[in-house]
Symmetry: C2
Subunit: 185 residues, 2 copies
DNA sequence: GTTGCAATGCAACAACAAGTTGCGATAGAA
DNA sequence: TTCTATCGCAACTTGTTGTTGCATTGCAAC
């Protein structure tokens, strides 16, 4: 039999949050089983409930901790190159188990529902800078609403992944990039 | 006290399915409570489980029965008019409680997940006829993939409603229509 | 009208997961 | 070594899905 760990403090925190992410990934939903998280974290269920009032708060904290990773702003040198990197990132996110759980769930809690808008807002702001730089380089004229253009480029990718249920080809991604580039003339 | 109904046959079926839809609407999720359906249908929980092996099958049957309503194909006389009607229909669906439950839930069962692709496929086919008619009228030249154009028009509406969390203005709808019309030249 | 059967109601039950509680055990610092 | 906050643990409550056995009742055939 394995010994109970009885570890404490920050290590336990990190283990719990990482375990929660793992469970979301392996189950593909935000409605995870707390017992499973406790098992993966090597921690008793009570310890989790001493830190988080309920499951939704645990999930929220886990996702927020995970989202601390800085949103990368591509810099491939050209507008097309930057947009391509964005579009590929969106595809891999939307196809991933964690991404699908976060982005296609109608969450039970308002806090979790709030997560989606802020998630995209952050990324739209980052992606819009790619357009700003293209303008500075003289590749195109400044658009009225850069973030809207990004939104219109990303929407078909998300839609196809979550609704139409067709896998997303490179050609489909290229179409979205082309449409944005065309809109900038 | 109210008397137990003891009604039978098709009436009971209809009551159960309509009650299920009501509960989905009032709860905004596909994870409805069977007891609540029984209450609304004026039927014992056992009666429901005698017809449907489990909750997911009940939800599936309720949605399929509801979806029997024919998908209307607009005929406003002009391409723009038809597209506008489509786009308004999509908005009202995506904003409705039933629509949100169906289209933004990561369902528990594969059958319910299958529902989304067929839902959209049906509507894409219907909407594509609007483009066909426009071609016949000589309003535009025949596109390579009409359904793809519809998909690209609808995607931003769905995306904004379910992800960005911003309410969808008439102007936003008009932009989507304009983009499709522009793509047909 | 009477009879018989299938459909329904009903209450109790099992299984499972969220969340709680009281107490005993232990790590880590004083 | 001692003290205390943290952790493990087992047992519990609550809510929901799904099941079961039996009593009731609607309805059709006779």
């Amino acid at each position: 039999m394995t010994e109970p760990s009885h570890r404490r403090g920050k290590v336990v925190d990190d283990n719990i949050l990482r375990a929660a992410i793992s469970v979301i990934e392996e189950s593909g939903t935000l409605l995870i089983k707390v017992d499973r998280v406790a098992e993966l974290a090597g921690v008793n269920k009570t310890t989790i409930y001493r830190r988080f009032p309920n499951r939704d708060d645990l999930v929220l904290a886990a996702i927020l901790a995970q989202a601390e990773t800085v949103v990368p702003i591509p810099d491939a040198g050209s507008l097309r190159g930057d947009l391509w990197e964005i579009v590929v990132m969106v595809r891999s996110t939307v196809m991933s188990s964690l991404g699908r759980a976060l982005l296609s769930a109608s969450a039970a809690s308002p806090d979790l529902d709030q997560l989606r808008p802020t998630y995209w807002q952050t990324r739209f702001e980052a992606a819009a800078k790619v357009i700003d730089r293209a303008v500075e380089r003289g590749e195109c004229s400044p658009p009225a609403d850069p973030q809207l253009l990004i939104e219109l480029m990303v929407a078909p990718i998300h839609f196809r992944a979550t609704q139409v249920g067709v896998d997303i080809s490179d050609e489909f991604l290229a179409v979205q990039v082309d449409r944005l580039v065309a809109a900038l003339r």
